[in-house]
Amino acid sequence: MDDVRMIEVKEEIMADNNQVAAGVRERLRLQKTMLVNLMSSPGSGKTSLILKTAQALKGSIKLGVIEADIESKVDAEKVAAQGIPAVQLRTGGFCHLDATMVTQGLEALDKKDFDLLIIENVGNLVCPAEFDTGAHKNVMILSVPEGDDKPLKYPLMFSICDVLLVNKIDYLSLSDFDMAAMRKIVLALNPEIKIIEISCKTGAGISDWVDWLKKEVTAFRRA
């Protein structure tokens, strides 16, 4: 009978992806391109926000977009129709983007002189939270119709983001969404997070978001 031995492994399970992600972050830092990873449930308004943001940044910040979608090209086509360079990554049924897929997206964008790249991650509040994409900033959207209890159900996502955009506030009067309670829970998970209430429909709050983004891009380019 063979003796059973114990081997100490002591390794992070995500070490591989984390390493690729760190490489992406560093490469883009040298190119002075800030990468933002945008995450939310399906239909919360990621594509709408990207379109609004692109309008607001026109002429001041050079923007490119990496779209992830399990099957379709719909979102990339919408973005490209606005004259914004966009690539579509097909995730082949994957529930999230990892840093290797992002690397492929960066290669597919033929220009390299972007000030800002936004990734529209796969619509899902679970898996994208576990995989570092190499982004410099993580941003999520929670839309009012989804309900104010989402931070309790998907705490990891809320805990890793730099910004929470609460979208579709034009629905607030029709719903029992408790903004104050939601803010409290989110801040417990993540005291550093910046929460901005917006509506991609009415345009409310969009300028606060764009101001944050411009400030970050400027600081990033200066660093």
Binding site: D2, D3, V4, R5, M6, I7, E8, V9, K10, E11, E12, I13, M14, A15, D16, N17, F94, C95, H96, D98, V126, C127, E130, F131, L152, K153, Y154, P155, L156, S159, K184, I185, A188, L189, N190, P191
Partner: protein, 116 residues
Amino acid sequence: MHELPVTESILKIVLAHAEKNDVRRVMTIGLQVGRLSDLEDEWMQRYFDYVSRGTLAEGAKLQIERMPIRLECNACAETYTVDAANQIDIPCPNCGKKDAKLISGREYFIKNMEVI
């Protein structure tokens, strides 16, 4: 969900250590996973069984230690644990305030493995 890439990553690390240590078979793999992760033990095992077929780690049992979600009260500095993600808004057991920050619960770690 993402059990597949996670278990693939576990297998890769385990096989690398097995090779370095002249292992013939991996019996168990000790993992630490924070309770904030939604990965289910049973599905992790099933995916692992699938990806490890034909390798030294085929048949290995995943021993998953769930690391507690720990919070620290911003008012009185008490630290306390909760069992599940949806309880993070319970009041502080010491002072009763609902104002705390997360200090652990996100771990994703391979501790050790039993081999022959």
